[in-house]
């Protein structure tokens, strides 16, 4: 293979990497760890509310069951990220993501009380 062909291939390879933004993505992966990227992508108290759920698990280490989540952000619940099939689903605790005040009040009237909250995310207990 002559040097012209090699050069064409080299340019082509750089082109592929450029088209898929591989240089920037590699830089981001090197700079930020997986958890930070996940919180950015799956949301803290926004989107799926991944960050808030993780915070609850960190703060309330004694809970060893899958906690139910109600997400009002038009995103799926983040339960899947933390799901453990050997653990039972907990009915005592509930996480609300992106809940407005009127939505929160419905749960408060239903014997739940708020244990912890950040912005419009709530950790409720019965």
């Amino acid at each position: 293979m002559n040097s012209n062909n090699k050069l064409s291939f080299l340019i082509f390879f750089i082109f592929i990497l450029y088209v898929f933004n591989a240089f920037t993505n590699s830089y981001i992966v090197l700079r930020e760890n997986y958890q930070i990227r996940l919180i950015k992508g799956a949301g803290d108290c926004d989107k799926s509310g991944y960050g808030f759920y993780k915070k609850i698990l960190h703060k309330f280490k004694n809970i060893d069951q899958n906690i139910s989540v109600k997400n009002f952000n038009n995103f799926p619940s983040p339960e899947g990220y933390f799901y453990e099939y050997r653990k039972k689903k907990n009915t005592k605790y509930l996480i609300l993501i992106g809940a407005e005040e009127n939505e929160l009040n419905k749960y408060l009237q239903d014997n739940f009380s708020s244990i912890y909250n950040e912005k419009n995310c709530y950790f409720l207990s019965k």
């Binding site: 062909n5 064409s8 291939f9 082509f12 390879f13 592929i16 990497l17 088209v19 898929f20 933004n21 591989a22 993505n25 590699s26 981001i28 992966v29 090197l30 997986y34 990227r37 996940l38 992508g41 799956a42 799926s48 991944y50 995103f75 799926p76 619940s77 983040p78 339960e79 899947g80 990220y81 799901y83 453990e84 099939y85 050997r86």
Partner: protein
């Protein structure tokens, strides 16, 4: 850095997986007149493995142990045929480099995003987690959409479990790998008149026109695309070219193993399984006895699926009842026409969303106007009729609001179905090249 290194290791694991159980060089040594190319053996291995893994998913088996067995077996052959592997790598150096760069470019995007897209987070990941944590199919009961097929989730969990840093996204690279293997296997089908650079450009073009990064967020569509591609590849090889003797049932077995994957990948796969059965029975150039064999085996696989679903989940469920209130509403012609218009509109939008369809249609037009290639290829028309008919049927019959459902789901069905028709683009390009 460890995350980037783990992408490379996962690629090696996937390569090992696709070289098990059949070894191309061993087969070539034993069967001199072997009809398959290296990439076709890889496709075949993935199909065989997926079927093996399907059986394993019903038992409590350590995923690491399975990987060690595959690794040991494959390394044994790597050592024996290391010269042949090296020669093959050198011979296709630029193709392999292109594969590696395409894989890395998309993989690093998946890794950077990290999060799961809607359906993946809503239900697929729960299944994946069950398998990742050592569970079996029986542990899926009670999950959201537990009746959805689980094979893709099992394979996702397998590569997640057998990765260096055990991050979830590494399991999803399996879907990228099989998608790329399908597209890159086109290389052996392109005319020899094409230069290496032209071949690689064509492969990249087809890859680029088919890729939707969103679906790598945990959707199963790339798995379906792979099945469609493989079915078309083997169907074309075995039946249209009529290479195999009538007493040889190997073609039927390979094609049955491929179509079996449809049932266990997604819900609509059951209908694809039936459609491909019809396609085979109508169009394959095989003797009657082979067709009877295929039919009986298909019925067996279908009944096995029903039995398993009943055994584990109590029934075979779909998102909606097959006969529901909407079925009868369709008897009103004006209502039916308004729905057909909406579905057609989103069909057209989907063709632009996945421009590979534009290339497929262009190829069909070019081939039709310049040659008689399509004259004895009626299976293509049957495919269009049955597949598009199926899409219309499910959306006409759904009790959900189609203005909401069609825009978010139809394009994914259309994407997967394109896998079957990639060969038409290859045929068109070959004809154009050979004419010059």
């Amino acid at each position: 850095m460890i995350e980037i290194f783990s992408i490379l290791l996962t690629l090696i694991s996937l390569f090992i997986f696709s070289n098990f159980p059949l070894n191309y060089f061993y087969l070539k040594k034993k069967i001199h007149s072997i009809e398959y190319t290296f990439s076709e053996i890889q496709l075949l291995n993935i199909i065989i493995n997926c079927n093996i893994f399907l059986i394993l998913s019903f038992f409590v088996i350590n995923l690491n142990l399975i990987f060690i067995i595959i690794l040991t077996y494959t390394f044994f052959f790597f050592i024996i045929f290391k010269k042949e592997y090296l020669n093959l790598f050198k011979k296709n150096l630029y193709l392999n480099l292109t594969y590696g760069i395409c894989f890395y470019s998309v993989a690093i995007l998946i890794v950077k995003n990290g999060y799961l897209e809607y359906d993946a987070l809503a239900h697929w990941i729960h299944k994946v987690k069950v398998f990742y944590q050592g569970g079996t199919v029986s542990n899926l009961k009670g999950l959201n959409y537990d009746y959805y097929p689980h094979l893709g989730s099992y394979l996702w969990a397998f590569f997640w479990k057998n990765s260096l840093i055990q991050n979830e996204y590494l399991g999803r690279l399996f879907f990228l790998y099989i998608f790329l293997i399908s597209i890159f296997s086109i290389n052996s089908k392109l005319s020899k008149k094409f230069s290496n650079f032209e071949k690689i450009l064509i492969i990249f073009l087809i890859f680029y026109l088919s890729t939707n990064i969103y679906l790598f967020g945990g959707y199963q569509e790339y798995f379906l695309f792979f099945c469609f591609y493989c079915y078309s590849n083997f169907f074309y090889n075995f039946y249209i070219s009529n290479k195999f003797s009538s007493n040889n049932y190997l073609p039927e077995i390979i094609i049955l193993l491929t179509s079996n994957l449809f049932i266990w990948t997604k819900q609509e796969g059951l209908f694809y399984f039936i459609i491909f059965g019809v396609l085979f029975l109508l169009h394959s150039k095989r003797p009657g006895l082979s067709k009877v064999f295929y039919f009986l085996m298909s019925v067996g696989l279908f009944l096995y699926f029903i039995f398993i679903k009943n055994y584990y989940f109590g029934s075979v469920e779909f998102n909606d009842e097959i006969i529901n209130s909407e079925t009868f509403k369709n008897l009103q012609i004006s209502y039916l026409i308004s729905k057909i218009i909406i579905i057609t509109k989103y069909f057209i939008i989907s063709f632009f969303k996945y421009p590979i369809w534009i290339l497929i249609f262009l190829s069909l037009i070019v081939i039709k106007t310049n040659s008689n290639y399509l004259e004895n290829k009626n299976f293509i028309y049957t495919y269009f009729l049955l597949m598009f008919g199926f899409v219309y049927a499910i959306f006409l019959n759904t009790p959900n609001d189609i203005n909401w459902l069609v825009p978010i789901t139809l394009n994914r069905l259309v994407f997967a179905q394109s896998g079957f028709l990639i060969f038409i683009c290859v045929e068109m390009l070959n004809r154009l090249k050979n004419r010059n």
